[in-house]
């Protein structure tokens, strides 16, 4: 069964304190791994898609990496506006649906 596990559940950082969020997955065949950001009361906002092990993508202070079993979302020198829930999802080759993890709630204090 396809499954996604995210850790930690919650993370508190001081502004400027870099860290990483983990997404471990099992899927019969990976079509893509997706990272989304979700603010309270809003829908998920697309950040990155990764397709194969070794791939990396960057956007401002965020960098996503992918191995055969997990993905990391690295946050460099975060700012308070980076506070949100970060969701990881996989899409297998047998289906077009996304399987989501429960998310990591990130709080960046000024």
């Amino acid at each position: 069964e396809d499954q996604v596990t995210q850790s930690p559940e919650a993370l508190r950082l001081q502004e400027g304190e870099s860290s990483s969020l983990n997404c471990s997955y099992t899927v019969s065949g990976l079509r893509g791994l997706f990272w989304y950001r979700q603010d309270p009361g809003k829908g998920p906002e697309f950040l990155f898609t990764l397709y194969s092990a070794g791939e990396e993508k960057e956007k401002e202070r965020l960098k996503a990496t992918l191995t055969k079993k997990e993905s990391f979302l690295h946050i460099t020198a975060p700012k308070p506006e980076d506070s949100a829930t970060y969701l990881c999802a996989v899409q297998g080759t047998s289906s077009y649906k996304l399987i989501f993890g429960s998310g990591t709630r990130l709080l960046v204090r000024p």
Partner: protein, 113 residues
């Protein structure tokens, strides 16, 4: 351009009532998805449309849930005989072809009293 829109943004109903939730996808997107998100959890897949047809409805929890997309654009999620356990945020997403990135709407928060 305009993103995915959903109406209403909030819906409060009583146990046993019927509700309809509407989704307007991004113009030109052929694929449309419905997900349900409970507090503190990630979205859970309900149903996927490619054009007018439901290509995968394996996530619908029971026969009280039904969705349509008659003209291949707007979709309506219908819930009969609502139960308190149906309370959640219902999210709609669309993608250009199905294999590509899914873009989400703001969701409809359904509360069943």
């Amino acid at each position: 351009g305009a993103g995915v829109s959903q109406t209403p943004s909030n819906k409060v109903t009583e146990k046993g009532k019927y509700v309809e939730l509407r989704c307007d996808p991004i113009s030109g997107h052929t694929a449309l998805y419905w997900y349900r998100q409970s507090l503190g959890q990630g979205p859970e897949f309900l149903i996927y449309f490619q054009g007018t047809g439901a290509a995968d409805d394996s996530g619908l929890p029971n026969d009280r849930f039904f969705a349509v997309r008659p003209e291949g654009s707007v979709s309506t999620l219908k819930i009969q005989r609502t139960e308190r356990g149906d309370s959640a945020v219902y999210l709609c997403a669309s993608s250009l072809l199905g294999v590509d990135t899914q873009y989400f709407g703001p969701g409809t928060r359904l509360t069943v009293l």
